[in-house]
Each structure stands twice: as C-alpha cells, then as structure tokens.
C-alpha cells in the first residue's frame, strides 16, 4: 500500500479532491461551524420530539409527580397546569416557542422545580465536569504508566500488559464501582461511602470510570506504541545513546497517543451516560441524575436543556480533539 501512495504523494500533493476555489482549510472551518449548529439543533429537536412522543399526558405527570400519585386526573385539576406551561398549545407552537427560547439562550422553567433550567444545569454541571476531568486524568496516568511499563517488553510481560488492558476494558463500570465501594469504602474505610462534593470523595467514582477507560485507551495506544518502538527514528535515538525509558517517554509516547486522544474525546462526549452510574452509585450530585429525574417527571425543559448542553459539550470536545491532534502531530495541519 504505502509504497504507491507514498510515491504518489511525493509525486504530487494528494490526488483528486482538488477543488480550485476556496482553500480547503477555510472550508473545513466553515463546515465545522455549520456542523456544530446542525448538531445542536438536531439534538435539541430530537429531544423535544422524543419527549412529546412519551406516553400519557404531561400535565397529569406533572401533577402526579407533585403528589406522589399515579392516578388519572380530572380536567379541572389539569387546567391550571396546562395553562401555566402552555401545554394546550399545538405541538408546532410549543416547538417554535422552544426553539425561539434556545436562540435567545433561554432554556425555560422546570415544571417541577419552578426555576430556570439554566440554574439547575449550572448547579449540577460542576460536579459532573469535575468527575469527568478527574476521570480523564486518572485514566491517562494509569494508561501511560502501564503501557510504558509493559509495551514492547519480553513476550511474557507484553502478554500481561495487553491482558490487563483487555480485562479492564471489559469491566462493567457499575460492577467495578460496587466492588471498589465494598472494598475501599465499606471494608477498608479509606474513602467516604457518600461521594458528595468532597475531594477524597471523588477518588472512587473517578476510578470507577477511569479504569475501564484506561483499558480502552491502553489497547489502542499499545499497538501504536509497539509499532513506533520499531520505527527507524527510534533506532536512531538509541544509536545516539538514548536510554530506553526516555525513548519511550520522549519519542514513542507522542506517536502512540493519538488514538487515545480520540477515545478521550469520545469519553467526554459520553460523560453523562457514564457518569450517571458513578453518580447514583456514590450518591454524587450531577447532570446524569438530574436527567433521569427529569425524564421520570417529564420535566421537558430540563431534559431538552441538558441535551443541548451535552451536544454543546460534544461539539466543543471535538474541536479540542482536533486541536490536540495538531499539537501532537503538527503534520496534520495540512490535512
């Protein structure tokens, strides 16, 4: 493969896709922006429609949740609720109101908490972001340490290395979480049972998510890592008298982490889904639990609000990942 491709590349900058008008880079930037908007809009709309599609009457739900009942309601009971939230309006009107609100940056008022969705999110997002951040850091530390330690060693050690990767990558987070909880919080009492907002309260939840992630990233990184270890420029570095460890850390690692970066991006993107497990397991506040509660009580403004937030996070993450790519591999600037 490479030979012809290389030959061709060397011969003339990558063939085909030659549109002579606007520079590809500017075009890709524009595309990205459009893409971001489309994603936000799409996600928001999907969320809205999905909520509308939910069975049963929203006003009834709101009322029942407020009174802890599950019964049908009389029109008299429902009238004020419908009036309050304009639920009697045709869907189209509700949708336009909603999108209009979004454009004004107004996510609406929670049916259950009677307060702006912005407030609710702002209150909870911190905890989730912290968890995600700590998770990522831990995952990277674990992964880099383990891969650097085991990759490209004797076949036995390599086996151990990738073996552990595979196992950890396959660990169900909740299960791992429970065991961590049982052993380190209940058993050894090293960490608090209730995560809360405390500093050492975040260790176990973060580990719960970090260990499988580290496994995933490890799998991806290890392959690249071992490939780069055989690369000529590594030989050159050895020929310069460079020690093994510094070779792994200064040269090889950088070449191996790109897939891991992608995975991290994905991890951030899917934070909500992942974090909720750690949150409910270690009773931490966070967007995930809010989302569940909101869906349970058909608190549409909160649900859609969170979806928009997540979509935004996803978009931003992607941009960051692209940047990271260029920082790590400057050659990507032109492609």
């Amino acid at each position: 493969m490479t030979h012809t491709l290389l030959a061709r590349k060397a011969d003339a900058p990558a063939p085909a896709r030659g549109r002579l008008t606007v520079s590809p880079r500017t075009r890709s930037v524009i595309d990205k922006l459009i893409g971001a908007v489309v994603v936000l809009w799409g996600a928001a709309t999907a969320a809205f429609l999905a909520q509308i599609a939910l069975p049963g009457d929203r006003a009834t739900t709101i009322l029942n949740v407020r009174s802890g009942q599950t019964q049908l309601r009389t029109p008299e009971e429902l009238a004020p609720i419908n009036a309050e939230y304009g639920l009697q309006n045709p869907i189209v009107v509700q949708y336009l109101d909603y999108i209009g609100g979004l454009l004004r940056g107004d996510l609406g008022i929670s049916y259950q908490q009677h307060r702006p969705v912005w407030g609710i999110i702002a209150e909870q997002v911190g905890a989730t972001l912290t968890l995600t951040a700590v998770t990522l850091v831990l995952a990277w530390l674990i992964m880099v340490f383990w891969v650097t330690l085991t990759a490209g060693r004797s076949s036995r050690i390599r086996a151990l290395g990738s073996g552990v990767d595979t196992v950890t990558a396959g660990l169900p987070p909740y299960w791992l979480g429970i065991i961590l909880l049982l052993v380190f919080a209940l058993g050894l009492g090293w960490f608090p049972v209730i995560g809360g907002a405390g500093a050492n309260g975040i260790v176990l939840p973060a580990l719960t998510l970090a260990i499988p992630l580290a496994g995933f990233m490890g799998q991806a990184t290890r392959t690249e890592f071992e490939r780069s270890l055989d690369a000529p420029f590594i030989v050159t570095a050895r020929m310069r008298g460079m020690g093994d460890l510094s070779i792994r850390l200064r040269h090889v690692l950088r070449h191996a982490v790109l897939p891991a970066v992608t995975l991290s991006g994905w991890a951030i993107g899917s934070t909500i889904s992942g974090a909720v497990i750690a949150e409910s397991l270690f009773t931490r506040p966070g967007i995930g639990r809010v989302l569940i509660a909101a869906v349970d009580s058909q608190d549409l403004p909160v649900v859609t609000g969170i979806v928009v937030l997540v979509a935004a996070a996803y978009v931003i993450t992607n941009l960051l990942v692209d940047l990271a790519y260029i920082v790590i591999d400057p050659r990507m600037k032109n492609s």
Binding site: M1, T4, L5, G35, V38, V39, L40, G42, A43, A46, A47, A50, Q51, A53, L54, P55, T166, V167, A169, G170, L171, P172, P173, Y174, W175, I178, I179, L182, L186, W266, G269, S270, I272, S273, V276, I277, S280, G288, L291, I292, V295, V303, I306, V307, V310, A311, Y314, V315
Partner: protein
C-alpha cells in the same frame, strides 16, 4: 523483501501460538452459546422455582452461585439468563453494525450533499446522550430486551458508522481498486468485488467485540433500572435485583457481574484474534 518474508515467517509463527488464546476464548464462548441454546444441559434447577427456606444461601455445592432473596438458585438463573443476555448482545451489535453499514456507505460513497447530510446525522447521533435515548425508549416501549437492543444498538451505531466509512474510503483509494479500474472493471463490479468485501471483513471482528461490549452496556442500563422485567434472569436484571443485598449477600452481584466480564473478555479476545488474522491477510 526479507522484511516481508520475515513478516510472513513471524506471522506463521505467531499464528501457531495465537491459536491457544483463540481456542480458549472460542471454547468459553461455545459454553455460553450452549447455555443460551440448551440451558437445561448446564443448569441444575428451575431458575424460577422459589424456596423460601433457602433464601440468601451463600455459594455451596448445592447452589454453586448461592441463592437469592426468594431462594432461587442463582447459578441456574445465570445460565437461563444467558439466552436473553446473549440475544441482547448479538442483537444490539447486529443492529449497530447494520445501521453503521447503511450510514457509513452512504457517507463514503454518495454524492457531496447526501454524504454531508448523513455525516451530520451521525454527528447528531453521537451528540445525543445514549442514556436519554434508553430512558425515552423505555418510557415508550417499556422495559424489554427489544428496548435494550435498540437503545444500545443505536447508541453504539455512530461509532461503527465512522469506522465503516473509514474502511470504505481507504479501500476506495487502495491500490487494488486502481488496478481493477486499470483492468477496465465497472464501478459497480469494483464496489461489489473489492470495496464492499474489504470494508466488511473487519466488521466480523468488530461485531464479535461488539457483542461483549453491548452486553456490558445493556447490563449497565439494567443497573440504572432500565432492564428487563422480572422474573427474567437477564444478567443485568440479576445485578439490579442483587444490588439491594450487596453487603449481606455480595455474591448476588459479584458472580453475575463476573460472568459478564468473562463473556466480554472472551468476545474481545476472539474478536482481536480474528482481526489480527484478517490483517495478516490469511483467509482460511
């Protein structure tokens, strides 16, 4: 050139050694398949039979995995749960790959406009939290294996879709496709003979690993209460039910969870072997 020949040599050598792991995982999976198809072969007792006198017995010879709060034999429940769990895993992975295949091929082969639209669609799917997808689906369809299949399937589809897209693109720009063009084959022939099969092959491996991952996911859903209705002994449901008894009867969570891990591990390992042997280009 030696580079090559050496590679083939080591490849052969590696292949010989690999087969150990390959068989190991294959056997493991085979056992699960048996459990799914003919649970009565493996299990000792009726997974639903309650025996209040035997409630919450810790693992023993009589009950290898112990018993649950109603005195049901956990081992039989795990065995009988295999069918549903495996079905969910296979179904979800299958659905994911199917969707991915459609989206991916369009994104890779269709014209600028449709490809653009599909790409955006994939993006949106990516951006839409899987958890919410599951929550909503459960509210609409109720808690059932189907629901899990759909939510997990759709949840993992976009990732695969990108993979397929990449595969098709690289195969589209490959030397052998150019060679085929030079031989004067028609676009369709080339797509049918080269692009599609070469894009599909890696999916076998992806699928195998996907099954494992999907089961893990699905059980995760069950864990946050989106699982299959009782008295189903689908693994996620078992975990969810056992959760209330962790401190007093930890086996109710630890053992089913462990089974899931083993299955996932076996699936991944098998998938990896398939993948590497495919990469080596040796078709059996």
């Amino acid at each position: 050139m030696t580079a090559v020949s050496e590679r083939t040599v080591t490849a052969v050598a590696r292949k010989r050694r690999i087969s150990v792991g390959f068989t190991a995982s294959a056997i493991t999976l085979a056992i699960f398949v048996v459990a799914a198809l003919a649970p009565n072969i493996l299990s000792t007792q009726d997974p639903l039979a309650m025996d209040f006198t035997q409630a919450l017995q810790s693992p023993s010879l009589a009950h290898w995995f112990g018993t649950d709060e109603s005195g049901r034999d956990l081992f039989s429940r795990v065995v009988y749960g295999t069918r549903e769990s495996l079905a969910i895993g296979v179904g979800a992975a299958g659905l994911a790959i199917l969707v991915a295949l459609v989206l991916g091929s369009i994104a890779a082969l269709a014209g600028r406009i449709p490809a653009g639209i599909v790409n955006r669609l994939i993006e949106v799917l990516f951006a839409f939290p899987t958890l919410l997808l599951a929550l909503l689906l459960v509210s609409v369809l109720g808690a059932s294996p189907i629901t899990l299949v759909i939510s997990v399937g759709l949840g993992s589809a976009p990732g695969y879709a990108r993979m397929v897209r990449g595969q098709i693109l690289s195969s589209k720009n490959s030397g052998y496709v150019e060679a085929a063009r030079a031989l004067g084959h028609s676009r369709f022939t080339i797509f049918r003979q080269h692009i599609l099969p070469n894009a599909l092959r890696p999916l076998i491996a992806i699928f195998t690993m996907g099954v494992g991952q999907s089961i893990v996911w699905a059980s995760g859903m069950a864990f946050i209460g989106l699982g299959v209705a009782p008295p189903s002994s689908e693994w996620g449901a078992l975990l969810d039910a056992g959760r209330a008894y962790i401190t007093q009867a930890s086996w109710l969570v630890v053992l089913p969870g462990f089974v899931i891990v083993v299955l996932a591990l076996a699936a991944t390992t098998l998938g990896k072997h398939i993948q590497s042997s495919l990469e080596k280009g040796e078709t059996a």
